[in-house]
Symmetry: C2
Subunit: 203 residues, 2 copies
């Protein structure tokens, strides 16, 4: 499976600006990207990074300075289906979770992100195009159905968890075991540093 991994190398992880400076955010984002690339390869995928600026990783990098939607659409238009698009901030992604994604039948397979985003796509439909604005998950569902494509949704906590803001950091510490988790630990981020939510209001 060809896998496009979009990466914002110019302004990564701006919603972590209260926590980390620009260089730190770039280092953390790159650590997550490398973890994702490892997981994609271990799942049998062939990743290409689609970056807004050059980035030093062990994978082919295509630099495209356009906004995310335009860059991904150009990549899809230039590829032979199937093509997957997997976001670079899925720090909890495992080979097993990605194998479930790649193996799922459907002309268009979607993984929603928390808040209505789209964390991953497999497109086997040459006409499918993306739109990452606003609640992109609903837009992608609609776009696939408008094409008459069959749609499947993968139910994975690991793939639906993108790491964007401070409240997402405990998930990396709890459930990841790669470079991103190590980077957070070395940066002094711990589970105790912010309240871990309880499962119910019962106690």
């Amino acid at each position: 499976m060809d896998v496009v991994v979009p990466f914002d190398g110019a302004r990564p992880k701006t919603r972590l600006a209260d926590r980390f400076d620009r260089e730190q955010r770039r280092a953390f984002a790159t650590a997550m990207l490398r973890d994702v690339l490892d997981a994609v390869r271990a799942a049998g995928g062939a990743p290409t990074v689609l970056a807004t600026a050059p980035v030093d990783v062990d994978a082919p990098v295509t630099v495209d300075e356009r906004p995310l939607t335009d860059a991904v659409d150009a990549a899809l238009a230039g590829a032979d289906p199937p093509t997957a698009v997997v976001m670079a901030d899925l720090a909890l992604a495992t080979p097993r979770a990605l194998q479930r994604l790649f193996a799922r039948d459907g002309d268009v397979v979607l993984v929603p992100g928390r808040g209505g985003g789209t964390n991953a796509i497999v497109s086997r439909e040459s006409g499918f195009r993306v739109d990452y604005h606003d609640t992109s998950y609903l837009d992608h569902l609609r776009a696939a159905r408008d094409l008459g494509a069959s749609v499947a949704v993968v139910d994975s906590y690991r793939l639906s968890t993108d790491v964007d803001e401070p409240a997402d950091l405990p998930e990396v510490l709890l459930h990841a075991d790669g470079r991103a988790r190590e980077w957070l630990r070395e940066a002094g981020v711990s589970l105790d540093a912010r309240g871990h939510r309880r499962s119910t209001a019962g106690e």
Copy 2:
């Protein structure tokens, strides 16, 4: 599968207090509970509600005013394994997601909640006891391993999403289709009412 569904009927959903008054919170929590009970039954489970106060639902209700951990432990001690514990605020739960939980092999099967909680458990090990304080997911992993029990973790966004705070409400609107979603819509909650997060910082 016998399924215990803990429900705080006395002080439900306190973290939604900025959004809904007490009666509204109770109505919303009860709507979620009823959706969960439907999904449990459709997945082949036999639910019993374990409530801190009486609640009018179409299922057996056991009232136990003790804190969550004590009440669930008493329920587990009095049951023949296997027993599942499924939280009442999993508004995104579907029969399919619960079937994956019930069918997963393992002496102890866990579903983490966002923030380190434990949203669902299947215990086939009569000695397993719960502890819902703090990061209960890590405690439950440790407790199962200390018993020499085999542990499995189910990777499901639907089951890992518990609805506790305003930021969780868009998930119900996006991904659920039962009473809880209908209640939110009738209460005037819409996706436009709060920023839906974008999947990446790229645009």
